[in-house]
Symmetry: C2
C-alpha cells in the first residue's frame, strides 16, 4: 500500500507530502466514498481543513479521485480506471445505502447505454442507486 501511495503520486507528478499520503491511505483503508468532512474527522488534527480541500482538488484534477453524486453533499472515491483531468472514465454504478449511509462504487456494474434525443452529445454519465446494501437489508 505504501508502494501504491508513492507510485500514484509520482505517476501524476505530484510532490509527496504527508497530507497527500495520508489522504490517499485513508481512501485505501476505508474503501468507500468519502466527503471532505470524513477526511477532516480522520486527519483534521494533523492537517488544516483548507489543505485537505486543496488536496482533494488536486487529486480531482489529476484524475486520482472522482466525484460521486449524492443528494446530501459531495463525496469522492478513488479512480480505479486510468483517468486524467479531462478524460474521466467512470461508467460504473454508485450505490448509497440509506441505512448505514455508505456510498460505494460498484466497479463491475456498468451504466447501461441510454438513447438520447437527436443531436444530444454525451460527455459524462453518473448513476446513483439508493436503497439498502446487503448487510443492512438482512438486519
Amino acid at each position: 500500500m505504501e508502494q501504491f501511495v508513492s507510485t500514484t503520486l509520482k505517476d501524476h507528478k505530484l510532490r509527496t507530502t504527508s497530507c497527500r499520503e495520508d489522504v490517499l491511505e485513508t481512501f485505501l483503508n476505508r474503501d468507500t466514498a468519502l466527503s471532505h468532512g470524513d477526511l477532516d474527522s480522520t486527519l483534521g488534527e494533523r492537517f488544516d481543513r483548507v489543505t485537505i480541500y486543496r488536496t482533494l482538488k488536486t487529486f480531482l484534477e489529476k484524475g486520482i479521485i472522482h466525484k460521486v453524486l449524492d443528494d446530501e453533499g459531495t463525496r469522492y472515491a478513488l479512480c480505479r480506471e486510468r483517468c486524467t483531468e479531462h478524460d474521466h472514465n467512470h461508467d460504473h454504478v454508485h450505490f448509497k445505502c440509506n441505512a448505514c449511509g455508505q456510498t460505494n462504487c460498484l466497479e463491475n456494474l456498468h451504466v447501461p447505454a441510454v438513447k438520447l434525443p437527436e443531436g444530444y452529445r454525451v460527455q459524462e454519465v453518473n448513476l446513483l442507486i439508493q436503497g439498502l446494501c446487503a448487510d443492512c437489508a438482512k438486519a
Copy 2:
C-alpha cells in the same frame, strides 16, 4: 396555469400563499431544473430567501418537486408523476448541458434496470447524463 397552481396546492393540502404560488409558477414558466439561487434571483425581491427555502422543503415533502442530483449544487424539478413524501417515483433521466448549464428531466427516457449484487434493495434511482444539448451541440 393559474388553475394548475391552485389545484396543486389544494390537492396537497397546502395553504395558498403568494410565495408558494409564485414558486410553482416559476417552475412552470421555466420548465427546467431550478436551484434555490435561481428562484431567489427571480423572486428574491418579493420574498425572503428563508421563505423560499421552506417552500422548497415543503414542496419536496409533499411530492410536488423532486431533487435533481448535480455535481455542483442541488436543483429541483416538478414531479410529473404522482408522488408523495415517501413514495417518489422518478425513474427518468436527467440531462445537464455543460455549455448552457441547463438541467432538464427527460421524462420519456427511463433509467434501464440494473442488476445489483445479491441482497441489495433499491429504493431510488438517479441518472444524470452530462454533455451538450441539441441546441448547444450544433452551435
